[in-house]
């Protein structure tokens, strides 16, 4: 299993993501700086969380327009798995790889806490380590995670099984429509989610509920 982590200036969860991928797959991911010309030949491309370009203009907007994202788009079109977490989700949305928009939390507050997630579609490469309807714990830390899309788009992604995770048990931290926490593209090889599964993968984290996302994915793409 080969993976690559894309790093933009201002990200701060890249080391957590690299550690999680290394621990779970046994192989360190390639680290791709945003100015690198290309992405190595990998099975999984990950864009981690943080505050790329200081969240200037809109969260993820500047990173989404950088040339390396054309390479991510090419890989996604070829069926390579692409995962975006938190700011990485915002970048995938701004790049048009996922539908909708992520807006300021309705509370206007930065929210850093644990939430409950319901696995809404376990029949994907990313979620196959879980079962449908399973409730898992996961940390969130964001200011702009309020998922929004027009009614037509929401109906389409709901009908097409593109909602991978929903905030469960009244823990929606940001006001997102239909409690949406993570969505897939139409062909289900691109996943973006606001919560941080990479931060709940070993006992020292206080839980391991995030591990199955990576473990299932690594199995699948190995």
């Amino acid at each position: 299993m080969k993976s690559a982590v894309i790093v933009f200036p201002g990200l701060n969860r890249d080391r957590d993501m690299i550690a999680a991928l290394t621990k779970i797959s046994g192989t360190a991911p390639a680290v791709v700086w945003h100015q690198d010309a290309d992405i190595p030949d990998v099975d999984l491309v990950v864009i981690p969380g943080g505050f790329s370009y200081g969240d200037y203009l809109r969260c993820g907007a500047i990173a989404a327009r950088s040339p390396i994202m054309d390479k991510v788009r090419e890989r996604a079109a070829r069926g390579v798995k692409v995962l975006g977490v938190c700011n990485g989700f915002q970048i995938l949305i701004e790049a048009g790889l996922l539908p909708g928009a992520l807006m300021r939390n309705t509370s206007l507050k930065f929210v850093c806490r644990e939430v409950k997630l319901e696995v809404t579609n376990a029949d994907t490469a990313f979620t196959r380590g879980y079962s449908n309807g399973q409730i898992i714990r996961c940390p969130v830390a964001h200011h702009d995670g309020n998922y929004f899309a027009d009614a037509e788009t929401i109906a389409r992604i709901e009908g097409n099984g593109q909602v991978a995770f929903r905030y469960a048990e009244g823990t929606n931290p940001n006001g997102s429509i239909n409690d949406i926490a993570g969505i897939l593209n139409d062909s289900k090889n691109v996943l973006g989610l606001m919560p941080h599964p990479e931060n709940l993968i070993e006992a020292a984290h206080g839980g391991t509920d995030g591990r199955a996302l990576f473990a299932g994915l690594l199995d699948k793409v190995a």
């Binding site: 907007a61 327009r65 807006m103 300021r104 309705t106 206007l108 929004f148 899309a149």
Partner: protein, 80 residues
């Protein structure tokens, strides 16, 4: 030439920042404020004198970067 681009949230898109500003205006005693919607303004200094070409270029800028057209509208004003 100069251009001003105004980016606003589309109707129907929740604007919690606008709501917070509205609440603050009310708490300052300003009455008669129905609703507040906030947005962004970009002032661009442009080379050249062809207004139509500038408008076309700025429209492209708005579509590709300045606005997120999933949730935002934009308006362009050009002056000399």
């Amino acid at each position: 030439m100069k251009a001003r681009v105004t980016v606003t949230l589309k109707a129907g898109v929740l604007d919690p920042q606008g709501q917070a500003i509205e609440g603050s205006l009310k708490s300052l005693g300003f009455s008669g404020v129905g609703a507040v919607r906030q947005g962004k303004v970009f002032d661009l200094a442009l080379e050249g004198t062809d207004e139509a070409a500038a408008r076309s270029q700025i429209t492209d800028m708005c579509e590709r970067l300045l606005a997120n057209t999933v949730i935002e509208n934009y308006a362009i004003e050009i002056s000399n």
